[in-house]
Symmetry: C2
Subunit: 232 residues, 2 copies
Amino acid sequence: MTKVTAQMSLSLDGFYAGPSFLGDSTDVIGWMTSPEALGFFRVTRWVTDALAWRERQGFAGGEESINSAIVEESFESAGAYVMGRRMFDGGEIPWGDEPPFRAPVFVVTHRPHEVVERAGGTSFTFVTDGVEQAVKLARKAARGKDVAVAGGGTMLRHAMQRGLVDELEVHIVPVVLGDGQRLFDVSLNLADDEGIELTPLRVVGSPEVTHLRYAVAGSRTLVLDDRGRGDE
Amino acid sequence: MTKVTAQMSLSLDGFYAGPSFLGDSTDVIGWMTSPEALGFFRVTRWVTDALAWRERQGFAGGEESINSAIVEESFESAGAYVMGRRMFDGGEIPWGDEPPFRAPVFVVTHRPHEVVERAGGTSFTFVTDGVEQAVKLARKAARGKDVAVAGGGTMLRHAMQRGLVDELEVHIVPVVLGDGQRLFDVSLNLADDEGIELTPLRVVGSPEVTHLRYAVAGSRTLVLDDRGRGDE
């Protein structure tokens, strides 16, 4: 059964990158030296160190570790991807001629664009009628594997908000960044008495990062819980 | 060796309570029905369900579980506590004549106040010259056990900021609250290229909560990490 999965590397205080880069999103060099990138590189270091990631990128070196196994599992389970336009713009150049996805990628955007075919099985299809439609197309393309919401943070938050995500995995990196871009912020627009309830599925620890996987049960009303009283 | 420890229950998005209650901090009934309390009760439910906590409060019932064992461990390891004034104000009435601490508590406040002695070994000493001094007094009073920074969030953040915390444990509750009071926010005042680095010490999972314990390595400069390149 195809599930919609999402994952993101976060600092302990919930940031996936430093404060927003204000330059052009295609200015890769400017971005690379920005505070946004400093935070991003810190929280994704465990990925760039992983053998499974480096192999996909065609890079030498890398560590064979539980973290690498988790990267590999993510790649293997995904039959199609959904991503935001800003992630595509930032990634197109560094991903090169043979991007690491090796599967159809559906990019949610306001700007129509022809399909981009790349070597190794990756294609980028541009979807202009919203994230629901992108997930629908990705489900068909996934051939029984999972649909992975690849990011960025805004896209993942939109997908969570719309109840589209079945499983969420956060990779919690042991650092407090203090400021930056949060996966979850007030733009989730939950009411004061509302929360998105999750069910823990798996916890994997390592010195570099802690992997927490959850099933997303969905939005629920928070109730005044008086179990803290003595008169039960 | 006495360590300074801190712990807090947080939603996956980093909140220890709902949005701030704007009433008087001694208005326990008003607070109990506020959005702040809704969030607080959700993230501390695993504690109020725990046998070890209920026993300390003199309450019936409770679950004997790994979570209860962790509550018990926290109580046993603390020889003295440091807390903020607002936590004391909110807790004084519900904690009653025999508060659960059973140890000296040092309350950081701007308002001088005589020592409050309670049954069961708890005393509240009011410290008007800052959190460093409160920690210093608590170290002496702890008789070789740990000093626990009990909260609230503002006090814990101040202690982290000043490098006073040796070990931090966060209890991550499987819920996204969307808004409320964060343990870590921009008032940490870290520079864009600065992070507080941590070292994972222990991970304990349960269906209700995931316990992540860290040694606090302290503030470090983030460096542009080019290990993601292929030409090494």
